[in-house]
Each structure stands twice: as structure tokens, then as C-alpha cells.
């Protein structure tokens, strides 16, 4: 099959990007390979690990199972879009403070998921945090500190 590309316009962290991509390119590959903000990670590439979690129109989704073409016209936020004027997002700060990672590979997905988890109102207890963060796997097993970071950030965001 001939490799045909189509024009794809993506709105990422408030910036407009015009790309020429094959329709099969996922949002994850478009971010990492074409636009180069590589904070969004590729773990399993099959929707099982959550490392590629980004926000589309404010909701957390998996960039590995989203075609870039489908994301046109939507507002995409990646880990690079969380900090404001050099100030870390409260969830980013809480992950640092609670030492909520070891190798760090899953961390940007964990943080994007945690921001949404708190916004959705699902960070009310440790059990609720565990359930609503279940789509983000951490093979280092940093879960206790991740839960602590989400709990801390939820309190800070609420206050």
C-alpha cells in the first residue's frame, strides 16, 4: 500500500501544530516522534499500563490507543503543559516531595492520571485513590508513595 499522508492539526498545551501524518499514527507517536515533547511515555503501547496518559478536552485518555487524526479539534494536555510560569503543578510537587517514583518511566502518566483523578473528585480516601489510579502500573512498585502523593496533592488542591 502506498504511504499516503493527511494534514493533521493538533492543539497541544495551547499551541497549534500542523503535521502531515499517515492516518495510522497514534497521538502518542505524533507527540514523541514528530513534536518531540517526549514526557509522554510509551510503555506497553496496548492500553494496559497507562504510561502514555494525556488529557483530551480535560479528560484523561491513553495516547497509544488514540489516533492523532481523531484528536484533531480537541485540546490536548501533556505533562509538559502542567507547570505554570515555571511553577510545578501541585501534583508534580507532591510526587517530588513524597518520592513517588523510582525509575520514573511511569511517572508522567501517573501524574497526568492523578491530576484528573483529583479533578474528578476520586481522591477521597486511599482506597478510592488506588481504584481510580489502577490504570497506571508502576513496575518498580512505588505505589505506597504514589498514593501518598495523590493524597497530599488532593488536600493542597482543595485548600
Amino acid at each position: 500500500m502506498t504511504k499516503t499522508t493527511i494534514p493533521i492539526h493538533l492543539d497541544i498545551n495551547g499551541q497549534h501544530h500542523e503535521l502531515q501524518l499517515e492516518p495510522r499514527v497514534t497521538l502518542l507517536d505524533a507527540l514523541r516522534d514528530r513534536l518531540a515533547p517526549t514526557g509522554t511515555k510509551k510503555g506497553c503501547d496496548h492500553g494496559q499500563c497507562g504510561a502514555c496518559t494525556v488529557h483530551v478536552d480535560g479528560e484523561r485518555v491513553l495516547a497509544c490507543l488514540t489516533l492523532a487524526a481523531q484528536a484533531q479539534g480537541r485540546a490536548i494536555t501533556t505533562i509538559e503543559g502542567l507547570a505554570r510560569e515555571g511553577e510545578l503543578h501541585p501534583v508534580q510537587a507532591a510526587f517530588l516531595e513524597q518520592d513517588a517514583f523510582q525509575c520514573g518511566y511511569c511517572t508522567s502518566g501517573q501524574i497526568m492520571s492523578a491530576v484528573a483523578c483529583i479533578r474528578e473528585g476520586h481522591a477521597g480516601s486511599d482506597d478510592e485513590i488506588r481504584e481510580y489510579m489502577a490504570g497506571n502500573l508502576c513496575r518498580c512498585g512505588a505505589y505506597p508513595h504514589i498514593v501518598a502523593a495523590v493524597r497530599q496533592a488532593a488536600l493542597e488542591v482543595a485548600s
Binding site: 495510522r24 497514534t26 497509544c64 481510580y132 489502577a134
Partner: protein, 327 residues
């Protein structure tokens, strides 16, 4: 992933027309389709994106029941106040079905089209034989590692398990799939593998799921979805049960009972034998446990999945008894 062309449908009719062309498929949330395209299981020539169609994501609930648009996303339906209060089993099945990210992406119509997680089906390069993928090629699962395979509704051609949760709750409450004007019960929408495991749904070329309708009943209002898994969350069912119950005025005698099983069968599995055995009976633990054994009547195991035959009736009994406690 093989390349394909992409087009955005501008109306339901345009989507149906485009998807009826050879090699074309409808694309909604993509959580199954893009995954299987990466596995080399589905090789579409054209994807017809329907996620931008408007008006198909409505959730309407009234005294008669609920009508849920095909493009309503799983997470939104799970969190909908009227779905939670009138159809708790549906809400619970949805929030236990996948991660928050996947629930935000996946649609209700797309969920009904979810494919099996059979590892042999998902791995064409290592396991060329799969009757579901390639009719007549054989079954790699039979004689293979079968811990996650079905014990009910299997055939000599296929033992792949139906992995979903939502449709288990839907089949318990006699939900109906809208294919435009045509209506098909959820029970009839899912097909047994028989000699044609490649055909999983009673949907014809040129048809598209437009809505799901769930009748409002007392049993649906007092219902639950109990899902037992290898890990606590974000996992497919080892065995699950959607159960709904309505008592007589005495609060103990069962007037209506709905039971359906997940994680054990080749399709969402309504367990009418359990329902019939308990209707008119007083809810007692021993009676419930004995009747729940009927849930796995006719079950056939393939070794490693034998545990499901013991597990499923216990899940059913526990779900029924849990609902009884809330009387």
C-alpha cells in the same frame, strides 16, 4: 500496524454507507480496534470515525427505562446519577470494566463490539490457527493454556471467553440494541461460536449500533455486579455475576430474579435456571447456594479453567445474598 485511510463520518447514514464498503470498519473509542490493529488481528483498509457525530451520546432515563446513545462513553454512563440509582448493576459493571482512561475513551456501542482476550486470537504471528480469525484454521487454545477460557457455550471450533462486563449486566435486564430502526435483544445480539466463531454479533453489513435500551424494572433497581479477579482492579473477570432481585411485600420471598454470568462463557450468559429455581422461594443462604449451582449446568472445562466451574456459582450466590442483606 498496517496503514489505512481515515475519514470522519458526517452523519449516521454516511457512516453506515462508508462502513459497508469492503475493508472498512467503524471507529469509535478505538480501545479494542487500535489495539487489535497493532496486534495484526484486524487489518482495516479504511476507518470511519464516528466519534464526532453529534446527538448519539445522550443518556435518557425515565420510568420506562433508560435509552443510552451508542457514543455515550462508559465513564459518563457509570457516573450518571439516574443510572446509578435505577440500574446499579450497569454502573458497577462499567466502572469495574476498565481503567478510568479507557472508560473515558470507550463508547457504549463500541463496548458491545469488544473482542475476546484469548491470547491465541491476539497473536497471529505465533499462532496462525484460530477459527475466530481465520475460519477453518483450527483452534490453538484447545490443548493450550486455557486458564482464561470459557467453560460455557463453547464449541469444538472455539473456546474463547467473552471478556466484557457491561453486556453481562445488560443481558440480565433484557436490554435491547438499536441498530437504527432494527431492534435486537442483547441476548440475541451476541452469538454462540458454534461452527462460525468468526461471527460474534448479529449485526449486518451496513448496520451501526445507535443506542442501547434497558427496561426499568424493580429487579434492575435492586441490582449489583460482583466481579472476582486475579488482581483487585483493572483486570478481566475470573468470574462475575450481574444480579437483580425483587421481593414480594413480605421482603423475603423472591418475586423476580435476574442472573447473568461473565468471565466464564463465550457470550454474556443469562442463567435462567437459577432464576427459575429461586422465584417464589424465600431467600435463605442454603437455598440460594444450592440453586446457584445451576448457573454452570452443562459446563465443560479444558483443564486449567476448571476453577471457573466452582467459582461462578459462589459468585452468583454471594451476589444474591448481598442483595438480600439490603432488604
Amino acid at each position: 500496524m498496517r496503514d489505512f485511510s481515515y475519514l470522519r463520518a458526517t452523519s449516521v447514514d454516511a457512516a453506515r454507507e462508508a462502513a459497508a464498503l469492503p475493508g472498512a470498519m467503524l471507529l469509535a473509542g478505538g480501545t479494542t480496534l487500535i489495539d487489535l490493529a497493532k496486534c495484526g488481528v484486524t487489518e482495516p483498509d479504511t476507518l470511519v470515525d464516528i466519534t464526532h457525530l453529534t446527538g448519539l451520546d445522550r443518556i435518557e432515563v425515565n420510568e420506562r427505562g433508560a435509552t443510552i446513545g451508542a457514543l455515550a462513553r462508559m465513564g459518563h454512563v457509570a457516573d450518571h446519577a439516574d443510572i446509578k440509582s435505577r440500574f446499579p448493576a450497569v454502573s458497577e459493571a462499567l466502572w469495574q470494566a476498565a481503567s478510568a482512561q479507557i472508560r473515558n475513551m470507550a463508547t457504549m456501542g463500541g463496548n458491545l463490539m469488544q473482542r475476546t482476550r484469548c491470547p491465541y486470537f491476539r497473536d497471529p504471528s505465533n499462532f496462525p490457527a484460530c477459527n475466530k480469525r481465520q475460519p477453518g484454521s483450527g483452534c490453538s487454545a484447545i490443548g493450550g493454556v486455557t486458564r482464561g477460557h470459557a467453560v460455557l457455550g463453547t464449541s469444538e471450533a472455539c473456546i474463547a471467553m467473552y471478556p466484557g462486563d457491561l453486556a453481562v449486566a445488560l443481558v440480565a435486564f433484557d436490554a435491547v440494541v438499536h441498530l437504527g430502526e432494527r431492534r435486537v435483544s442483547v441476548d440475541d445480539f451476541f452469538l454462540l461460536p458454534g461452527t462460525t466463531p468468526d461471527r460474534e454479533h448479529a449485526i449486518e453489513l451496513g448496520e451501526m449500533i445507535t443506542a442501547i435500551e434497558i427496561p426499568g424494572t424493580a429487579a434492575a433497581r435492586r441490582s449489583t455486579y460482583l466481579k472476582i479477579r486475579d488482581r483487585q482492579s483493572y483486570e478481566f473477570a475470573a468470574a462475575s455475576a450481574a444480579v437483580g432481585i425483587e421481593f414480594e411485600a413480605d421482603g423475603r420471598t423472591i418475586r423476580d430474579l435476574r442472573v447473568a454470568l461473565g468471565g466464564v462463557a463465550t457470550k454474556p450468559w443469562r442463567a435462567r435456571a437459577v432464576e427459575d429455581a429461586l422465584k417464589g422461594k424465600v431467600l435463605e443462604p442454603e437455598t440460594v447456594r444450592a440453586a446457584s449451582l445451576l448457573a454452570v449446568e452443562g459446563a465443560v472445562d479444558h483443564g486449567a479453567n476448571h476453577y471457573k466451574i466452582e467459582l461462578a456459582p459462589r459468585v452468583v450466590a454471594r451476589a444474591i445474598l448481598k442483595l438480600g442483606e439490603t432488604a
